[in-house]
Symmetry: C2
Subunit: 285 residues, 2 copies
């Protein structure tokens, strides 16, 4: 698979690369970014996958999160995929901010016309990691995190793949897409109107099914601003917390008084999340 490096910039002693490539999963060109900490010049380092929210691409996190200072200190790579295919040629892909371009929801679409390209789940959990470990000084030790739609993505990628990620964290995640307007719109388009097919893509249901199947709990941190305008209608942290509590599923839930849904909020706590993941990845914190 050939990679086309679009740019490289030095930051915090490491390297931030933007790379495009032909993606099988997404049936076209995809761009991702990777931050290589200074330690990667000498040895393989573990990685955090960061999944962004609606309307974002890799640059929102790399420009606004302020994460590289701590990642460089810890020796952690950060992989920043896009949030959907771009220019996939699917009718309607550019009509709304919450469906299609910038809104892949980290599922594998089963419904035409989306299914030809909107397979972000396979892209993020299989295609991209294979490409990363083959081309960079990055080991297969990984953690995953994300924001909003990307928080949902991080949760389902981890819960659907027990043992694959050392830890998962999420900022203001959509915890139950089956039950909120953003999720219902996306899932109806990508997965169809039979809601029974949605449960395998819904974190609130996955913790229940994992528990029922006796799967060992995933190290799981959820971060939520109390002044987030999407708190009750879209994100539903209380629902998820109470599901976890009823199952005795360990959840590290951190509510932040007065914080909103923005990257200012993320930048305030990203170092805390990186240290959480570093601990689970066995790095010196």
């Amino acid at each position: 698979m050939s990679l086309n490096q679009l740019s490289e910039v030095k930051v915090n002693g490491g390297r931030l690369l933007r790379v495009e490539h032909e993606s099988r999963s997404c049936n076209g060109n995809m761009t991702f970014a990777v931050f290589l900490p200074p330690q990667a010049a000498k040895k393989e380092v573990p990685a955090l996958y960061w999944l962004s929210g609606l309307t974002c691409n890799d640059e929102n996190f790399s420009q606004k999160a302020g994460a590289f200072t701590t990642a460089a200190e810890l020796g952690m790579a950060i992989i920043m995929p896009d949030t959907s295919p771009r220019d996939a040629g699917v009718v309607g892909e550019d009509e709304a901010y919450d469906l299609g371009t910038g809104a892949g929801f980290y599922v594998n679409a089963t419904q035409a016309p989306w299914s030809i390209a909107y397979n972000m789940y396979s892209y993020v959990t299989e295609e991209l990691p294979a490409l990363i470990t083959a081309n960079y000084a990055i080991s297969d030790q990984a953690a995953i995190s994300g924001h909003s739609m990307g928080g949902h993505g991080a949760l389902i990628c981890a819960l659907k793949n027990p043992g694959k990620y050392a830890s998962v964290s999420a900022f203001a995640p959509i915890t139950s897409p089956s039950q909120c307007p953003w999720g219902q719109k996306g899932f109806t388009a990508y997965l169809g109107s039979d809601e029974t097919t949605w449960s395998e893509w819904d974190a609130n249901q996955l913790v229940q099914s994992n528990r029922a199947a006796g799967i060992a709990p995933q190290a799981l941190l959820i971060d939520q601003g109390s002044s987030d305008p999407f708190y009750a209608d879209q994100l539903m942290p209380s629902l998820f917390a109470s599901t976890c509590e009823s199952l005795a599923y360990p959840l590290d839930y951190r509510e932040r008084e007065g914080y909103d849904h923005s990257y200012y909020y993320i930048s305030s706590f990203i170092a805390e999340h990186l240290r959480y993941h570093a601990k689970h990845l066995g790095l010196t914190v």
Copy 2:
């Protein structure tokens, strides 16, 4: 003077405000941002004025510099003015990225039509500080810093006002606008073609005239990436360093191997600058 607060967001335990107001100096509406660290809830704190570069407004720094983590820790406010008047109605103000809107060069224009509004020097050194100390829990203890055109701005504001700023630092500043294309274009428009009038707005000449006048040296830090594409033609750090050396003017010059002109570069070293200013402002570092 009435202030209109456009937004407030919580970040790193502090408050980031965007505010607009009618400016006398700039003959119209101006927007600035102010970061109030958590300590400002209880007492007056000192401030760093940050002057941005060509094309920027207050948001480039607030979104991309990653400065608030350290500013919150130190108890330092950060004031982020715009880089020029906006919609001043001056013919030609929107024709180029390096003149007019987004390119005020922190001078007081003497030439029509610019002089009616393009008085960023008075705005930054007098009007804005008066408004800040009158309206926020911010003392008159101040330091100043900036990037590129804003690095030039920080240097001249400090050198023209001995004792006003505890310290000045600059990332990749235009050190001698009289001698580079960006500066020559701006100065010709704002100050006229008589180059003898330019010297009072040129850091490389101000260190010389201050030295000749026996003015005590200003605590001065210049930061420069070695891979900055504007290094030789526009910024001329070597010229400035050699002027300081020939005058035995103390200069803390830090060249950073492999860094470019971007906010990734700034974000890599902003904490170091904030600690430098904190020390000069008498804060606990």
